[in-house]
């Protein structure tokens, strides 16, 4: 199997930094995630929403797949995020902190309302983020909640924090088990499955080992935060496991 970066690599860009977005557009074609959520501070949420809206317009003909990570339905921002970005027809919508099927249905209903109200020629495609224990327990019902799921993606930092908040004795083991469960589920259903970012971007050997393990679990691609990580993701996830 020889896959391109456009299928394997997911490059996060903070939505409130237009210069970062323009820089990302100079890379060879890949998936660019314009982040309105954790990559954008609270006091920049509104500003980021409009930067991302206009970036989607300006780069509509780009060879990159532009994905927008909206704010979660558990925040006050998600509806306005969708109001502004759905009319720009993003390549995919990444939905963070989905805990249950109802969370995803909320997003899908809102998106469909916007499409109908504005008579848009647009079929949304979702990437659903699994970031807490509740989500792993509900994975099958979440999957059944929408026919438009392209992939599940794992949010490692938030999952770890969820385990700590619940007082679990070994959050590292919990994260590992969750990744195994998610990878196995996606493999059994033929779904794409993208692993979490590796924040220590200077530790290339550590990243390599993490990617190898992730691929064994069933992950088919990865989110990255630094250009130096791209080639390694393509190398490891782009080859089939013997």
């Amino acid at each position: 199997m020889n896959q391109t970066a456009g299928q394997l690599v997911y490059f996060y860009v903070p939505g409130y930094k237009p210069n970062y977005i323009e820089y990302a557009m100079t890379f060879y074609p890949m998936n660019i995630i314009l982040c309105l959520e954790d990559g954008t501070p609270e006091d920049k949420k509104l500003e980021a929403r409009y930067v991302v809206k206009h970036a989607l317009q300006a780069f509509a003909d780009s060879e990159h797949t532009l994905i927008v990570r909206i704010n979660s339905v558990h925040t006050p921002y998600w509806e306005q995020d969708l109001e502004e970005i759905v009319p720009q027809r993003p390549g995919r919508i990444r939905v963070p902190m989905v805990k249950s099927a109802e969370d995803l249905r909320l997003v899908e209903r809102k998106v469909q309302d916007i499409i109908q109200a504005r008579s848009l020629d647009y079929s949304p495609v979702y990437e659903v983020m699994i970031e807490c224990r509740e989500a792993i327990a509900n994975i099958a019902s979440i999957h059944e909640a929408s026919a438009n799921i392209h992939a599940f993606t794992f949010g490692g930092t938030d999952y770890y924090n969820d385990c700590v908040a619940k007082g679990l004795p070994d959050p590292v083991r919990e994260v590992r088990q969750a990744k195994q469960q998610l990878g196995e589920y996606c493999r059994s259903k033929g779904l794409q499955c993208f692993d979490t970012t590796y924040m220590a971007f200077r530790d290339m050997e550590g990243f390599r080992q993490d990617c190898l393990l992730s691929r064994e679990y069933g992950f088919t691609g990865r989110s990255v935060i630094h250009p130096d990580q791209v080639a390694l993701v393509q190398e490891i996830y782009g080859t089939s496991i013997a």
Binding site: P18, E47, Y50, H54, A55, A58
Partner: protein, 67 residues
């Protein structure tokens, strides 16, 4: 409107003629804005203007509700 050109390679007039129509389009030109132009592309200028317009609209709505 005050427009401070921070890009020495561009003339002040060029910058003004570039920025002023966008501000007018978003209903901001008459609000005596102070602009510091650092060389942003048009899509970025538009995003800033629309964000500001959105904030002003929200503030005006709150004032109306408060009476």
């Amino acid at each position: 409107m005050q427009c401070m050109n921070m890009v020495p390679e561009l003339t002040d007039r060029l910058v003004y003629e570039y920025v002023a129509p966008i501000l007018k389009e978003y209903g901001l030109a008459d609000l005596s804005p102070q602009i510091w132009f650092n060389g942003a592309n048009e899509w970025v200028v538009r995003s800033r203007c629309e964000a500001l317009r959105s904030m002003l609209n929200a503030a005006l709505e709150r004032e109306e509700v408060a009476g």
